[in-house]
Amino acid sequence: MSRLRLEPRASTPAWLGLALPLAALAATLILCSGLILLAGAGVLPAYQALASGAFGSRFNSFETLVKAAPLVFTGLAAALAFRARFWNIGGEGQLLAGAMAAAFIGSQAGLPGWALLPGMILGGAAAGAVAALVPALLRLRLKVDDVVASLMLNFVIYYAMLALLDGPWKDPLSGYPDSPDILPAAEYPMLWRASRLHLGVLLALLAAPALWFLVRRTTFGFALRAVGDNPRAAAHAGIRAGAVLLVVAALSGALAGLAGVGEVAGVHYQVMAGLSPGYGYTGIVVAMLARLNPLGVLPAALFFAAVATGAETLARTTGVPVFLADVIQGTALLCMLTALLFTSHRVRWQRRGGEAGH
């Protein structure tokens, strides 16, 4: 009998960095093809329909980019937090907090027109930051597990939003549980005439290299990587892990908040229950697929946005349920996590008895 054995690697070959995510994606698509067959569709035609639904026309490509923008922000939020071992699963709630702040500020007729957009961006980022600081402080001061606290906060913020929309914030014009529309001057300008491609897409594109610079090229980035890699060594080097954690949490929350600002200012122009189809959670998968590298977040977000847009077309044209996108997401996360093992370990088959005592 032989057995799987993991051996630590001395060094990681450079080509693995690119090959692993691609291998993980290939494995994901192969694993999910069984579900497509179950739905009575052909695998290749289905993936073709998915791809053309995502990129087949200018309209479709723009839709994919518009969906990618919030995923870039939530992906960056998760990548930054995870890099410092702050398990921020609260991207969804922070996104909603940012969206609510943006919708509130964007509907203030008393503000001068030029102040609306900057106010929404700053306010949304601040709201997201505050929402993320709660689990960070709970962990620092009271040793509450950050995963549980940030997850719970997603529900608290979601239901608080629903309560507001059902009560004092209900749109008086429509009577639906939606917030009033933001002012026209508070809307993100479009990057392309008569399209839905809004300013937020460009902001997302710029945010990724900016965050890369912060993590890889600044003293603060060094500190956060040190805290993430080896907290004990970081403490010896005089890095105050608590302070780093708080800054990371605030930044991470602000990024997720910006995802919410973009959805309000660029897509929906109001807040309603279905504002986010789980962008906060998908952001975690995006970050993992990017190997927590801010630059890698861009293609990873684009991939999941393409799957989401493409799955809608796929569901319309064939009988494959739209939830294939969700299965692909979960499978991709697990495949990528497994693939990451190969950066630090090599896998060997070992004959039983090859080593005494095992």
Binding site: L6, V148, A163, P321, G330
Partner: protein
């Protein structure tokens, strides 16, 4: 004046027998899933797949019961599918030693996607979600007629009795059997356990399979005994609450029963308040209550809680 009337209405509600029977009913899925999570964590593995496994259990249990007409076959299917995904988490976190946080979230995402996908494939998009004839209450002869205690404790569906009996059973297994000793040893100090001849991997796989089965059962309870149907929001965070309940219970089955009943009471209370339209407050505020209470409880108690020492730490044979 209005405040006083509200408080007296609250008292009336709390004194009703029906309220306590309801507490036990809504506490049962929490108790089952909390016990499942407790088993996993006692063996050293945090199972963040709980939310998804519960959903998949609810979907599988419902679908099987719907097509076979046999509720117990649905329960069996939910147990199996829960155990299966518990084992998958074991493959990732025990054999491969991957991050328990990320692998667990991945299992939840995968199970959520699979549940939605399969349900849509099987049932399409019906205007009304299909229903099943749910579990009926099974009065315990002789005891069900007791005043107060009878209707609260002895006139419930069989799964409630099962959940209640599981508490002493698990406590006995954990604290009084060699199997339980090994399981706890593996969660506290796997190196020492391995030198003493305990098969660390096998123990962790067993805990994950059993724990996953209980989570699947908890989900099936919701679709087969509580809501009589499967909806996409059937779990809506209950699994995450159970993660916190394990901490509140300090990894002990008896205290888990207490924690689940406490949160069951909170849930039953918010349901009553919601349906009575009390205080004229928007209903989502009541839905928020269990989550807010969880954060508060964790904030109060987490500092003094002591998790199994090897929780979250992968065990690698070669690093002994």
């Amino acid at each position: 004046m209005a405040g006083r009337r509200a408080i007296s209405a609250l008292w009336d509600l709390l004194l009703q027998v029906g309220f306590f029977a309801a507490v036990l009913r809504v506490a049962t899925p929490l108790l089952l899933a909390t016990l499942g999570e407790l088993l996993c964590e006692r063996a050293g593995v945090l199972n963040l797949g709980i939310e998804g496994i519960m959903l998949l259990g609810a979907m599988t249990g419902f679908s099987v019961a719907y097509f076979t007409g046999e509720l117990w076959l649905g329960i069996l299917a939910a147990l199996l599918v829960g155990a299966l995904f518990g084992l998958l988490l074991g493959l990732l976190t025990v054999s491969l030693g991957l991050s328990q946080h990320v692998a667990g979230l991945g299992i939840t995402m995968l199970c959520t996607g699979l549940s939605f996908y399969a349900y849509r494939l099987i049932f399409g998009q019906p205007g009304q979600p299909p229903h099943i004839e749910p579990f009926q209450t099974l009065p315990v002869p002789g005891l069900a007629e007791l005043p107060w205690l009878g209707p609260v404790l002895f006139d419930q569906v069989p799964l409630v009795y099962l959940a209640l009996l599981l508490v002493p059973l698990l406590a006995f297994l954990l604290y009084r059997t060699p199997w339980g000793l090994n399981l706890r040893a593996v969660g506290e100090n796997p190196q020492a356990a391995a030198s003493a001849g305990v098969a660390v991997f096998a123990m962790r796989y067993q805990a994950l399979a059993l724990g996953g089965a209980l989570m699947g059962l908890a989900g099936a309870y919701l679709s087969l005994a509580q809501f009589n149907a499967f909806t996409f929001g059937v779990i809506s965070g209950r699994g995450w609450v159970c993660i916190a309940l394990v901490v509140l219970a300090r990894w002990d089955p008896w205290r888990a029963a207490g924690a689940a009943l406490l949160f069951g009471a909170l849930d039953a209370l918010q349901l009553r308040l919601q349906s009575s339209g009390a205080f004229g407050l928007p209903y989502p505020l009541f839905l928020m209550l269990p989550f807010l209470a969880t954060i508060l409880a964790m904030a109060l108690l987490a500092r003094s809680a002591r998790a199994p020492a090897a929780l979250l730490a992968p065990f690698r044979r070669e690093e002994r």
